[in-house]
């Protein structure tokens, strides 16, 4: 009975309530550790989250001295980055990385920046300057019941400063080798107690890497990287219990992507987005959120001279209710529509309407045990409008399916320093719009009957705080299985009969499973030193129905494409105004597919990328005026490192000048 008293009291006072959105800064200051909603949708301190979670703070980002998100993410266990050029990179969690990696959902302030059209993230188009990021929350493992399709390897939530709670102003200028130039600015502005505004803008350019084994055709398609962004957002306290937020952004990137067909294309992207959020503290009805946004993406393959566009519209309503002191539920309903103009042969438009509902239930079993379950059901309806896509029949695009996702986790804290975590996840990887029929070219057509891949994961984690070193140790082991692996089109040998015509198309191609382990230790010692080290083990076993010949013909080659071992370490040091950071990574060899030539035309050649060590270093001095001068070197151990089988990652050295205001 007494458990309900607090809720009743809250309801009575709800009229005077404030702060419907989370004040991450104040909560972290109070609880002495970061607060997140990424694992369950409800606020939790990081150590309570029923997931393998890593939070990268603004201080971590600054200390790294790095200038882009993929390089920053590459410092953490379980993450694998394939850098294709100065602008393009794919970031994977727990293996399976390749060009246009599609298993990782990425969001900025709750807005999906994962592109449905090709199931990929174009990191350069994220309309965010590093200096405005409050924290990056990395959830490893499937979280489909919280986020829906495509959160199968995990989710990365990027949270920027909140203009109603946080105040920041920074201008940064960078210049370096490879003709690198960059300028960006972030400024928040408080207009009274009820309105906060944030403006962010940036521009960067750099020459493309030059060294590496590319064909003449590929090399001729390369362009130097150029990107820019501008975003404006505002959050208003329109009533004591209501906040309204608006975000508008536009970004551009010209970059050289290594695509699923294992070749380079220079692509320019223009991404635009508009988002509206309404948050209401509705007393004992809960915390209500309405979020509506639209993403527009125009893309142009410069080497092919073909362009198209994609659009995503999402409307989501959720209610987070604390039923009593031990039980919290979150109910969410969502509608989303994804569209894509047919490419590279225009003349039609493919679309998908998805209706989804989800329920999360968090049960605090006792003071040291919590048990969380979440279930989500997605109803998917494919549609096509336009000219015929011979040999496909238009009736084949009338595809409907319903998929369920599930997450369950127990967190047990036997002492204040020990946390045990057991989780289970089932999520679904929706095929890209491109694969379902957005692609239509000579002899090749999408497959509207392509099934979502289904990913299950079981995971055991243990974290131990180490006060004696002012740090912590953590280890996580998992088993993951993927059914109905998607396979991109192969060569003419892979043609199949589609309504009586031999055609290249996308298919489901069997299973793949993996074991993995991630271990981390980090701490701080006297003298201003911090340190961290991690080991990642990934062992993938493919059981495919394709590529049975001596050489692969379809570009699916996961088991040898992920490095089995990765070791990372970093040391930081701060003394007054001076700070420095050194990071080293060693990873074992891996293979990558390259198109065959001559007698091997039509085949894909597994190409060895040897094991390598790479390093980043940064040193900074901050003046009393708030001016920071910083020098950073990435991949500095040699002039260029073959991190892929194509363009080598060249040493980049740059100077940054930042001024706070």
């Amino acid at each position: 009975m007494k458990k309900y008293v607090l809720l009743s009291a809250t309801a009575l006072i709800a009229v005077g309530a404030q702060a419907q959105t989370i004040n991450y800064t104040a909560l972290q200051d109070a609880f002495g550790q970061p607060v997140t909603t990424s694992a369950t949708g409800k606020p939790q301190v990081a150590s309570d989250a029923p997931a393998s979670l890593r939070i990268i703070s603004a201080a971590d980002i600054k200390a790294s001295g790095l200038d882009n998100l993929p390089d920053i993410l590459s410092r953490y266990s379980g993450l694998d980055v394939l850098r294709w050029g100065t602008g393009a990179a794919d970031v994977a969690i727990r293996g399976y990385n390749h060009g246009h990696y599609g298993r990782l959902l990425v969001r900025v302030n709750g807005r999906q920046v994962f592109n449905d059209h090709y199931a990929m993230v174009v990191w350069n188009t994220l309309p965010v300057a590093l200096s405005e990021i409050k924290q990056i929350e990395i959830v490893k493992g499937p979280v489909g019941a919280i986020y829906g399709f495509n959160a199968v390897a995990g989710v990365i939530n990027i949270i920027t400063v909140n203009p109603l709670y946080d105040e920041t102003g920074t201008v940064t200028l960078r210049a370096g080798n490879n003709d690198k130039r960059e300028a960006n600015m972030v400024k928040t502005l408080k207009l009274g107690d009820s309105l906060g505004l944030k403006l962010s803008a940036g521009y960067k350019e750099a020459d493309e890497f030059q060294r590496g084994k590319l064909t003449t055709a590929e090399r001729n398609r390369l362009r130097d990287m150029e990107a820019n962004h501008v975003s404006a957002s505002g959050l208003a306290q329109v009533a004591d219990n209501i906040q309204v937020g608006v975000e508008l952004s536009r970004s551009y990137s010209l970059q050289d992507n290594y695509t699923t067909t294992n070749t380079y294309y220079a692509i320019d992207y223009v991404a635009r987005a508009a988002k509206l959020d309404v948050d209401v503290d509705a007393g004992n009805v809960g915390l209500l959120n309405l979020s509506v946004y639209r993403n527009w993406l125009d893309f142009n393959y410069l080497g092919l001279g073909t362009a198209s566009d994609a659009r995503l519209t999402v409307a989501q309503v959720s209610d987070l209710i604390q039923l009593d002191t031990d039980h919290t539920v979150k109910i969410t309903s969502e509608y989303r529509r994804s569209e894509m103009g047919r490419w590279p042969t225009p003349g039609g438009r493919i679309s998908a309407d998805i209706f989804a509902g989800s329920l999360m239930w968090d049960w605090k079993v006792s003071d040291n045990i919590s048990f969380t379950n979440a279930v989500r059901v997605d109803n998917f309806n494919l549609g096509y409008d336009g000219a015929a896509m011979t040999p496909r029949l238009l009736s084949e695009f009338d595809t409907k399916l319903t998929k369920g996702s599930f997450n369950s986790g127990v967190v047990y804290k036997p002492t204040s320093e020990d946390t045990l975590r057991f989780t289970y996840g089932l999520a679904n990887q929706l095929p890209a719009m491109f694969e379902l029929g957005g692609f239509y070219g000579a002899g090749t057509v999408g497959n509207p009957e392509l099934k979502p891949a289904s990913i299950t994961s079981i995971e055991l984690g243990y974290d131990h705080a180490l006060p004696v070193i002012n740090g912590s140790f953590g280890i996580t082991a998992y088993r993951q299985q993927t059914k109905d692996v998607k396979a991109t089109t192969g060569g003419t040998a892979d043609r199949i009969l589609v309504n009586g015509t031999l055609t290249q198309t996308f298919i489901n191609a069997g299973e793949s499973s993996s074991w993995g382990m991630e271990a981390d230790i980090r701490g701080a010692v006297a003298g201003g030193f911090t340190y961290g080290a991690s080991y990642t083990w990934t062992d993938i076993d493919d059981n495919l129905t394709i590529n049975k010949g001596p050489l692969p013909t379809r570009p699916v080659y996961y088991e040898k494409a992920s490095p089995k071992h990765k070791l990372r370490g970093n040391v930081g040091w701060t003394s007054g105004a001076l700070s420095a950071d050194l990071g080293l990574t060693w990873q074992s060899g891996r293979y990558q597919l390259r198109p065959g030539a001559g007698a091997q035309t039509g085949f894909l050649i597994p190409t060895k990328i040897d094991s390598y060590t790479s390093g980043t270093a940064s040193v900074a001095y901050t003046f009393s005026t708030g001016t920071e001068v910083r020098a950073t070197a990435t991949d500095f151990l040699r002039a260029s490192t073959p991190t892929t089988s194509v363009l080598e990652t060249e040493r980049r050295v740059y100077l940054s000048l930042s001024q706070s205001f």
Binding site: T10, Q33, Q44, D326, S408
Partner: protein, 165 residues
Amino acid sequence: MRGLKLSARHGLSLAMLLPALACADPASATVDGPTAAVAVKAINFLQPKPGKPTPITIVADSGQSAAGDAIKTALGADVTATVVNSGNDLAGAVAVIVVGGVDVSAKAAAGQLIIGDMACMEAGKCALAVERQASGAAKYHVNTAALAKAGVSFDKNFQMLVTAH
């Protein structure tokens, strides 16, 4: 749907394990300067939000005035603290920090947040106590009956992060 059924079975299996794992009471906490400095951060989440600097009264038993002064010194600039003995009036304070075994629950005004040690909170004489952990993290414990009686309410996001008794 077959996957969902399988998943539900996994969930039920986990649920059956839970009662066996439940144990261990939190370590008892004592209100000293550093603990009080963490505890008063809860004031930032009071609804409605009080203005700054926030007036706080520290109530110390006779013979505990040095402890009261130490707490006053440890608090930040966001609060203005006064040390009094238990006979004094508490009017005007947004929060009251209780040192030792003093019981001010009967004389606290409506809306006043009473902060004390774990024993005080568990007895319902205080509404909030803080347990500081060796890792540097803090755990906020609240007595729901004491909060309701005082008419004190927190921001919902904060409320979902505290341990309720």
